[in-house]
Symmetry: C2
Subunit: 356 residues, 2 copies
């Protein structure tokens, strides 16, 4: 997703954060909330998860202005036990709801060894890695999962779209190596990637999208009408289902047929969950981190396929991209630049300033 | 795995349990331990997970007699916090260690909403579903994960076998429908399945096994020298890795290069973990179960692919097989029958009695 950065115009991280915060404040979010959402979106842009950063700003602003998302939510704990909680997001921005949930999970894990916090009446929260990585600074493993608001996947062997891309993200602390960060959708591909294929005039490989007769769809322009296939066949179908039960049904949010066809101006009632697992409850923290360092080093220095490139581990590339973009700025395509310019004018805020 | 049952000889569930208990007792396990392991292995045979039931008896007995597994372990809590624990299995049968761990996780989830228990110095514990399903009776969701003792998978893009089939199992309570039970390896296939293909003289489809040049291996007889591919490409690689960190590194057991080449008579030091999540901590239990019933009913009554069979959900077939086999007995192949006959003679116990 971060390919072809070289020639593009770029904006500095600080300016990206400030621009998004300006936009959210102009759309009615309290200033601290506006800054917090901007910070979490920028995190995705920095790590190269381009589909979940500033590119989503126009959609979020549109939903906020249409009243589809609550600008001044009272995010609260609806139910609580020593090591779990259910958070009611009051239809606020998902970034705020899941930030609240992550802090709570970390506090619970500090006291009880583990914390699991589910959220209902939430909204799209951006990249899962954002929240899965929050426990890292507390010497904890983080796990985030979410139920997608749109169903693009059929059960294995079926043709009715009853499940979503339901993502899972896991982050594991390291010592000297970048943290291990897995952040995947349970579908074989995503519409973000399909859009990139369409823009580049490429065909899709088989195994990603099928039509209602089960035939492969390889034209990215026809993928929108098709069904996304699960990652790894029936296994990914099963994973997507259990994530929807853990992130949706358990929190009392709609799943499957119930979740289809919610109008854009209505609350999405997104369900998500975050877990924090305290390393200190299992042994000496530094020893664990050193062990993980050794494991990932063994992986990345292992023999590649003949003619293949470097062997990587999950989180390695995101860390590199964040370092590079933090230094050199975040690339932006002309079409998005124009769209953000229009948005700035509409909101009456200073436009996103590019690096010269 | 339960195909072609019709013509085979069968044994009754009670006799299977009793036979395995006889064998373990003869190999030196205390009687209650022998019965418990037998019960957990039978569970796999009943649900059609044929690769993890009585078929494993000769291997377990061999390791017990060689001193590779401790017959009289003192399974104990090595570390504990309110909602987590680390169990030291004292190199006992994995079935006993993970039964202990599951009971502890359930008790912790009853008190704290969630319980996470890891195990070190454990051994192969059979089918993951066995343990993931234990919390069901307590109105809890169960999650089990394990680090495989042999590495057959390379990191994505690599050719060195540094990861295993690391399985994950999740079980979710229902009301009238069979429970949702996902039990998958993170490799695209397993050697159990490859063996079946070899027995049936079938070729393997591409995408399951590669050789050290990256070329697909389709001859099941050559799969043993090859590398298993992860389910869903790099996503399954990432899943396998994080499971090895959660089930292995966190519990202080070997992962990756460290775990290779442990001689058969030495302790395997297997790492596993189980989590129990208390439904009552999130809302009314019956409401949740009804919701899951509705979701899985929507899935299984949804439109199949043209010309396709019934749409299923994970756990449905296992439940059916268990019902059928509980009634009609468990099928057994002639080769296994002969092997078990030889084992019975060696141990001086009454052989497995077949149904007439």
């Amino acid at each position: 997703m971060s390919g072809g950065d070289e020639a593009a115009a770029r904006f500095a991280a600080a300016e990206g954060r400030s621009f998004m915060a300006r936009a959210f404040a102009a759309a009615g979010l309290p200033e601290t909330d506006a800054e917090m959402v901007a910070e979490r979106m920028l995190f995705a842009d920095l790590r190269g998860i381009d589909s979940h950063g500033v590119v989503r700003l126009p959609v979020y602003i549109k939903r906020l202005r249409a009243g589809g998302i609550n600008r001044r939510p009272t995010i609260r704990i609806a139910r609580e036990s020593p090591a779990t909680a259910l958070v009611d997001g009051d239809n606020g921005m998902g970034h705020l709801v899941m930030g609240f949930a992550a802090r709570l999970a970390i506090a619970k894990a500090a006291a009880s060894g583990i914390g699991w916090v589910g959220a209902r009446r939430s909204n799209h929260a951006g990249a899962g890695a954002t929240y899965a990585m929050m426990p890292l600074a507390h010497d904890m493993i983080g796990l985030y999962l979410a139920v997608a608001n749109i169903n693009h996947m059929a059960p294995w062997g079926g043709i009715e779209p009853l499940l979503g891309t339901n993502p899972i993200a896991v982050a594991v602390p390291t010592l000297d190596e970048p943290p291990v960060v897995l952040d995947i959708a349970t579908t074989a591909t995503s519409f973000g990637r399909i859009r990139v294929a369409a823009q580049n005039g490429e065909r899709l490989p088989e195994g990603l999208v099928i039509d209602r007769t089960g035939a492969p769809v390889t034209d990215p322009l026809k993928a929108e009408e098709g069904l996304l296939l699960p990652m790894g066949g029936y296994k990914g179908y099963g994973l997507s289902l259990v994530l929807s039960l853990l992130g949706g049904a358990l929190n009392g949010t709609p799943v499957g047929r119930d979740s289809a066809g919610i109008p854009a101006a209505d609350p999405a009632n997104t369900g998500q969950a975050i877990m924090a697992l305290n390393l200190a409850s299992f042994g000496p923290v530094e020893e664990f981190k050193r062990h993980v360092d050794r494991i990932v080093r063994d992986l990345r220095t292992s023999k590649p396929l003949p003619g293949g490139g470097e062997v990587r581990f999950p989180g390695q590339q995101g860390h590199r991209t964040a370092t590079e973009r933090g230094r050199s700025g975040i690339p932006i395509r002309p079409a998005l630049r124009a769209e953000l310019g229009k948005l700035a004018a509409e909101l009456g805020i200073a436009p996103l300033k590019l690096q010269s």
